[in-house]
């Protein structure tokens, strides 16, 4: 429990400490931020080692009453899925911070304050087990992100940051209405104990809400998450935000912020509104598949490397959504591992783009060519990140995409092969646009004289790229280290879904240590037509 | 007085009130606007007094005293403001007072 609190609060405390530092003393601020985030990472390792993989329920649960009249509390805890994502945050944050040592040259104090505040809010989002608390963290993300893009971003940062802000805000306000309505309905109509925002309480009974209400609530939550994911056609803010954000901003945006959407879909939509999720699964999967193909096609015609990577995110996140709404254990597991993968590989791609941008101040593909001869190490790292993103077997991307496709293929709820087949074309497209880009940038002759004197990677750049590569290979070769962590919590969720839909329990071994059994009767009563 | 029915008084007060309101809205001379406001308040007074008389209840008449006092204060302040503005702008026409966009 204590490691969880430290993981959550240390970034906040450090960010507040930064406020008291002298802004002239940039070095102190930089290293303080880095060390603080490294300590956070080390402490979060305790979470990993003490985690009980066999227990599908929430662990490290902390429940402190906050507002008694709303039954809102400071309730945090982790299950397998959120543990993986929290580890991703604590792992990526020091890397993002290290990568901005050279690229951020103005207002460093404010920058590092914002980054740490962002880290606090992100951990908060993935650990909150209270709808009120979740919403607060969810909105808290916006403020640092707005300033990170808006102050340290590129030329069009104003447009990008306002667009980002407005898009996310619109979605989340609908979620706010839904949270209140849900708290009111569950608290006053079902439990009759008064308004509540307790995630665990709501989870037990939320599926008793009549389907027509559930549909509204489902969409109110889902719109907000879809914007964040982003699911086609709500993705238009993403390329702008990515292109304009500073490198670290892009890394955090891609690696973690987008996962808030997919995490929310599993955590809230599937858990709360199971019936509505089942009813809407096909529709959403269609959009996911369109997003996969659309993202890949648009990525292929980009002339800006960063924009290309941004559109590839749309495509990759489509796989995650497809995996989630396949509603099978394999599919959801694939989605979770794909979330981590995307964080690593796309995060690394953004870092690499940032590295070359710092040297040449352009991201146009046509400006480059033959870079492999001048910067061989850089080219190698880029190749690893790219192959990971393409989904080369042996690297992490393959595992995630494979599992999600299998999930979509075998899903009894989608009940069609079409989704998986259409989505798999996305894998081929990904290979096309990434390899083509790689070829144009790295192979051929060095036409542009300004590329001749580029320096290869510095020690600092090595330092933040190597850890990512280790994990890319690790997940690729031995995925079960990671899938085991979330296996049981996923299975428990699938138990619930299949119970609602078909009245069966595919993973009965989990029943003895979960409370599903006691509720299965209730849920059966509300079963929607098969 | 008792021979004239209440309705007549109320109708008169309604007519006065309408005249006053229209005057405030339509006239542009600030002095006339304030006169129209006085007409409005007087129509209120008439209504109160006739109700009080008709119902045999004195509280309406008490109200009238307050309305009169307030009316006096209101026009005093209004005229003072018009004076202050006149010193700056040399006009008492409200539509010529337009620094602030409408």
């Amino acid at each position: 429990m204590i490691p969880l609190i430290i993981t959550l609060l240390l970034p906040l405390i450090s960010s507040l400490l930064i406020l008291f530092m002298n802004k002239e003393n940039v070095k102190l601020i930089k290293y303080f931020t880095l060390i603080s985030s490294l300590i956070t990472f080390l402490i979060s390792l305790f979470l990993l080692f003490n985690f009980n993989n066999t227990n599908p329920d929430i662990q490290y649960y902390i429940n402190v009453t906050w507002v008694s009249s709303l039954d809102a509390g400071f309730r945090i805890g982790l299950d397998g899925m959120s543990l993986l994502l929290v580890m991703l945050i604590t792992f990526i944050s020091p890397i993002a911070i290290l990568s901005s040592f050279d690229s951020i040259k103005t207002r460093e104090k404010e920058y590092y304050f914002m980054i740490l505040l962002l880290q606090f809010a992100m951990v908060g989002v993935f650990t909150a087990l209270d709808t009120f608390l979740f919403y607060i963290f969810w909105e808290l993300i916006l403020i640092p992100m707005y300033f990170i893009i808006g102050i340290w971003g590129g030329k069009n940062r104003l447009y990008a940051t306002v667009k980002f802000f407005i898009f996310t805000m619109v979605g989340s306000l609908f979620m706010l209405v839904a949270i209140i309505w849900l708290g009111n309905y569950v608290g006053n109509e079902i439990l009759k104990t008064g308004f509540t925002t307790d995630y665990l309480k709501i989870k037990e009974v939320a599926n008793l809400i009549p389907l027509n209400y559930q549909n509204w609530l489902f969409w109110a939550f889902a719109i907000s998450f879809f914007i964040k994911v982003p699911l086609f056609p709500l993705h238009t803010w993403l390329p702008d935000a990515h292109t304009e954000a500073p490198t670290a901003g892009s890394v955090i945006l891609a690696a973690i912020l987008l996962k808030m959407g997919t995490y929310g879909l599993i955590r809230f939509n599937l858990e709360f509104f199971t019936s509505a999720s089942i009813a809407n699964a096909s529709l959403i999967s269609i959009f996911a598949v369109i997003g996969i193909i659309y993202g890949a096609l648009v990525a292929a015609i980009q002339t800006d490397i960063k924009k290309l990577v941004a559109y590839s995110s749309v495509s990759h996140l489509g796989f995650v959504v497809l995996g989630i709404f396949s509603m099978t254990a394999i599919g959801i597991q694939g989605a979770i591992i794909q979330m981590v993968n995307h964080g690593l590989s796309t995060g690394m791609l953004f870092l690499l783009v940032g590295i070359i941008y710092e040297r040449r101040h352009t991201r146009e593909i046509s400006e480059y060519g033959g870079i492999a001869r001048i910067m061989p190490v850089y080219a190698t790292f880029f190749a690893i990140a790219m192959f990971s993103s393409v989904g080369l077997p042996g690297l992490n991307g393959f595992v995630g995409e494979y599992l999600t496709l299998i999930g979509a293929f075998t899903s009894p709820i989608l009940n069609s092969w079409g989704y998986a087949i259409a989505a798999s074309t996305g894998v081929i497209f990904a290979a096309v646009y990434l390899l083509w880009m790689y070829q144009r940038v790295f192979f051929g002759t060095v036409d542009n004289p300004s590329n001749l004197n580029l320096k290869d990677l510095s020690k600092r750049e090595w330092a933040f790229l190597v850890p990512i590569v280790i994990f890319i290979v690790w997940i690729g070769l031995h995925p079960s280290t990671f899938t085991n962590i979330s296996e049981n919590s996923t299975r428990k969720l699938v138990n619930k879904i299949e119970n609602v839909k078909f009245g069966i329990t595919p993973y009965p071994e989990l029943l003895k240590n979960s409370n599903l059994k006691t509720n299965s009767n209730q849920i059966n009563n509300n079963k929607i037509g098969k | 007085m008792n021979n004239i029915p209440l309705e007549y008084y109320i109708a008169l007060s309604g007519i006065l009130f309408t005249i006053g309101t229209l005057g405030v809205i339509l006239r542009r001379n600030a002095i006339i606007v304030f006169m129209s406001l006085e007409i409005m308040l007087n129509s209120v007074n008439l209504a109160f007094i006739s109700f009080a008389r008709y119902l045999g209840d004195t509280s309406g008449e008490i109200f009238v005293f307050f309305v009169m006092a307030v009316a006096a204060a209101e026009s005093a302040i209004g005229l003072a403001i018009i004076l202050a503005l006149f010193r700056k702008k040399q006009t008492i026409y409200v539509d010529e007072v337009n620094v602030l966009k409408h």
């Binding site: 306000l173 209140i180 009111n184 | 209120v44 620094v99 602030l100």
Partner: protein, 503 residues
């Protein structure tokens, strides 16, 4: 003899509970007298007023938890009115403290004694208004409040926009109070009493003509709507807010508005109260007439017009004026349901709104002191020229938008809770959409401050901050904004108690 005796007894019993108001009147007189006697010291009236109001606060705390009808039912003292009175008192004291550092006010060696005593006068009016349960006291206290506000709006009279604001204010104000008092005469004519509770009894008895009551109610709504600056009675707001001294603008946008809501809620709740079922359907006392719909339409109009017009504003004061109209709309959403939960959320919202709105106006004032402008385009780059003030401004704006972790979010959360509690999903959705719109223009301010920077060669590129004292007040307000976003139970309890004991 015995009647006189009982009158006297009643009077004597009432005076004790009336002590806060008496203290205010004494403060008012002492402030004016001392200002005349000590011409050398400019701020003596200000200090006396502040001290007097603080003493009033102590006296007022004696009334906490007391529910009593005073002076033969002219006014009541109850937790509801006491809550608002504390709100008014704190607002007034804050405004006075803020005024001390307001450059425009002290320009031209102006005498400021009346300024502070007028503020005390307004406070007196608002105190009465929060307690008023008789048509006479309602009218009289509204007028006390208004008359002082007219003068204060035009206090910097050599600035033309101030005089102009004042003129518009007095004309529109008198017009709407004239309409209101005519409505009162109709209510009186129909029910033969000026006491709101007795009017309620008369309506419930069913022997009165409903037509004058409905028309009268609507006309009174005009008067209250004017004070609350609800659309379509808002037309004065932007001009007056832009023209008046900025301290008065913020005062009107908080205290005067709160007073309007205080009397509006009490009046309609008392007037249409059903005896047994105090919580449900109070709007349906007069069947076939949909007060609730009217208030709902008013609410939707108010927030929508306020927010959309705010989008086009290029002047920060005017922008905040329209935003305050929009906030009146949010608050009206909770009036629509008129449940205890709803009224609690209104009280809560007002506390938070006071803090954040005063804060925003105050920082705008501190900016204006230095850069001499309220124009949005002059705010460009302020985030770098005056980082501390700009950050404080951002905190207030984020709170006004209703984003966590600030007080504004909690306020909105409770209002939405109250609205959804009674199933008004459509109203909540409109409210939410409006919040999105409001985001655009609030973001415009902090976008200009931080995300755009001025060219270095302009002469206006000096860095500045505010003097320590005003700055510390802004700090306190910003701190409170964030603190109440995280911990607000005491205020919530207080608001809940203030409502449950109110009839």
């Amino acid at each position: 003899m015995t009647i006189t005796q009982s009158y006297l007894n009643n009077l004597m019993a009432s005076v004790g509970y009336f002590a806060p108001e008496i203290a205010i009147v004494v403060t008012f007189i002492v402030a004016i007298l001392f200002d005349l006697m000590f011409k050398k010291s400019k701020n003596i009236a200000a200090y006396i007023s502040i001290i007097g109001l603080i003493i009033t606060g102590f006296i007022l705390s004696g009334n906490i938890g007391i529910s009593k009808s005073l002076f033969d039912g002219l006014i009541v003292v109850d937790p509801y009115s006491t809550f608002f009175k504390f709100l008014f008192l704190i607002t007034t004291i804050l405004i006075m403290v803020m005024s001390l550092s307001y450059k425009e006010l002290y320009d031209n060696n102006r005498k400021v004694g009346e300024y502070y005593s007028m503020l005390v006068g307004i406070t007196f009016g608002m105190f009465l208004l929060a307690s008023a349960v008789n048509l006479i006291t309602i009218y009289l206290s509204i007028e006390i409040l208004s008359l002082s506000s007219y003068v204060l709006a035009g206090y910097t009279k050599e600035i033309r926009r101030a005089s102009e604001a004042s003129l518009k204010y007095v004309i529109y104000g008198s017009l709407s109070s004239g309409i209101m008092v005519y409505g009162m005469s109709l209510l009186y004519g129909a029910t033969m009493t000026l006491d709101v509770a007795k009017i309620n009894v008369a309506i419930l008895s069913g022997h009165v003509e409903l037509f004058p009551i409905i028309i009268g109610g609507l006309m009174i709504l005009v008067g209250f709507g004017y004070k609350m600056s609800a659309v379509p009675f808002h037309y004065w707001t932007p001009d007056v807010y832009e023209g008046a001294p900025i301290t008065i603008t913020s005062y009107l946008s908080v205290a005067s508005k709160a007073a309007g809501f205080a009397v509006f809620i009490r009046f309609f709740k008392d007037l249409y109260l059903l005896p047994a079922t105090s919580d449900i359907n109070i709007w349906n006392t007069i069947s076939n007439f949909h007060w609730q719909t009217i208030v709902a339409v008013l609410s939707v109009l108010t927030m929508t017009v306020g927010n959309f017009v705010a989008l086009w504003q290029e002047n920060v004061k005017r922008l905040l004026a329209y935003s305050s109209i929009a906030h009146a709309g949010y608050i009206l959403m909770a009036v629509v349901v008129m449940t205890n939960v709803g009224i609690t959320s209104i009280l809560l919202y007002f506390v938070f709104y006071m803090i954040m709105n005063l804060g925003a106006f105050f920082v705008a004032q501190l900016f204006a002191n230095k850069i001499g402008s309220d124009d949005l385009k002059d705010y460009i780059g302020l985030g770098y020229r005056s980082p501390v003030l700009a950050v404080l401004m951002t905190v207030f704006l984020i709170s006004l938008t209703g984003l966590p972790p600030t007080a504004g979010f909690i306020g909105k959360f409770y209002i939405f809770t109250a609205v959804l509690d009674k199933g008004f999903v459509w109203l909540a959705v409109i409210g939410v959409l409006n919040s999105v719109v409001s985001l655009f223009y609030y973001a415009k301010i902090f976008r200009n401050m931080f995300l755009r920077s001025v060219a270095d060669d302009t002469k206006n590129n000096f860095k500045f901050s505010a003097p320590a004292f005003p700055l510390s007040i802004a700090y306190v307000l910003a701190f409170a904004t964030i603190l109440f976003g995280l911990y607000f139970s005491p205020i919530l309890n207080w608001a809940e108690n203030s409502v449950t004991m109110f009839k």
